[in-house]
């Protein structure tokens, strides 16, 4: 009987430890999640889950249509993505692609997926000013 009690106590302690551990892990995971800046305007051209999964396909398709065929619709245009997703904040300034608070970088840094779109493409709307003076790019 004593033997059983001791074991039960051990078990309870273990379970307790387990709960504590998993709790602290979840709170850490929450800290690590990307902080995604909110976009200008109400609705994206696609649903969020569709965009998260397929944005690279959309812009790949559009880039060929635009550059090679001269089709200039704005729905899946990278320029339009930037217009909304890196629109000037309250201070009237925008982030650089090299900074974590740029919409694209916020997720891509988290996912460790390096993109080279902005080696060539503008990372901000034409008229917007950068918040920092550091040189952009990777």
């Amino acid at each position: 009987m004593v033997y059983l009690q001791r074991h039960i106590r051990k078990l309870v302690t273990l379970v307790g430890l387990g709960i504590l551990l998993s709790l602290s892990l979840t709170s850490q995971a929450a800290d690590l999640k990307p902080v995604i800046p909110t976009a200008k305007g109400g609705q994206c051209v696609e649903k969020t889950d569709v965009m998260r999964k397929n944005h690279m396909e959309f812009i790949l398709h559009q880039r060929n249509d635009t550059l090679r065929r001269g089709i200039r619709t704005s729905k899946h245009s990278l320029k339009e993505c930037i217009e909304c997703h890196n629109a000037p904040a309250n201070d009237g300034k925008v982030a650089r692609i090299s900074e974590k608070d740029h919409f694209c970088s916020s997720c891509h840094t988290f996912a460790a997926v390096k993109i080279d779109c902005f080696e060539c493409h503008a990372d901000k709307p034409e008229a917007a000013q950068y918040r920092t003076s550091a040189k952009g790019g990777h």
Binding site: R63, D65, L67, R68, R69, G70, I71, R72, T73, S74, K75, K79, E80, I82, R96, E119, C120, H121, A122, P125, E126, K135, G136, G137, H138
Partner: protein, 247 residues
């Protein structure tokens, strides 16, 4: 939303153009070419070209070059490259006849060849010609081998040697890729005129004309028909889209 606005604008312009049709003789009407809607691909119905009247192009004038730099963002952006390495989409060339001393000046840029050698040699398909004759580099797939630079008889192409920032939204350009005059394709697709031509005319020189070589009623075609227009290195048989008058 933006797309709809564009479409409406184009439709409006289309109607305005139709309304502005001009009766030149009984039964003969001249119409402006209607702008292509944003969702439609460029076709071979058009072939865009340029005509440069060298008799009006002044030695020392650089207005077209400056306009191109400002429009497309090349030049000042390459801070680490040497002068030879820096991009040059359009340059002024001075020709002196050694016999007579006669001096001529002209702008030289990608000649938008009908049979472009740069496209022939490109191993990836990055160097390409659009259906309407505009020759471009698809930087998404350019590997920077620079074969096209070697192949071009006009030295029209540049390679980017350094990381760039602050590019124009309508003119993406960057490290490790080749670039050249796009005939301001972003403007042409909106029924506009290349920056160099616009500036040359705005400054009153009137040495450059842009238009559709396939349309016999366009100003450029009429001028070419009346005055003729030479190709630089016509012997190469490239049927260039850029023509010169008065050479």
């Amino acid at each position: 939303m933006k797309q709809d606005t564009d479409m409406n604008r184009r439709r409006f312009l289309g109607q305005a153009a139709a309304a502005a049709g001009l009766a030149v003789a009984p039964g003969v009407m001249l119409y402006e070419v209607q702008a292509r809607p944003a969702g439609e691909a460029a076709t071979s119905k058009q072939r865009w070209g340029m005509l440069i009247d060298t008799t009006k192009c002044e030695v020392g004038c650089n207005d077209c070059v400056t306009a191109c730099k400002t429009e497309n963002g090349w030049g000042a952006s390459e801070t680490k490259s040497s002068t030879e390495q820096q991009a040059q989409w359009i340059r002024k060339v001075k020709l002196t006849d050694k016999q007579t001393g006669h001096v001529q000046s002209l702008p030289l840029m990608c000649q938008h060849c009908e049979t472009p050698p740069c496209v022939d040699v490109c191993p990836t398909g990055a160097s390409m010609k659009r259906a309407d004759g505009i020759v471009l580099v698809d930087k998404h797939i350019c590997i920077g081998c620079r074969y096209c630079m070697m192949a071009c008889p006009y030295k029209a192409r540049s390679f980017i040697h350094e990381s760039l920032s602050g590019q124009k939204a309508h003119a993406p350009r960057g490290l490790g890729t080749v670039e050249s005059c796009t005939l301001c394709v972003h403007r042409v697709d909106k029924d506009g005129t290349p920056a160099c031509v616009e500036s040359c005319n705005a400054k009153g020189h009137k040495a450059m004309y842009f238009g559709d070589l396939n349309d016999p009623n366009s100003e450029i075609s009429k001028r070419l028909k009346e005055f003729g227009g030479q190709q630089i290195r016509a012997d190469l048989g490239l049927n260039t889209g850029v023509r010169y008058q008065g050479l």
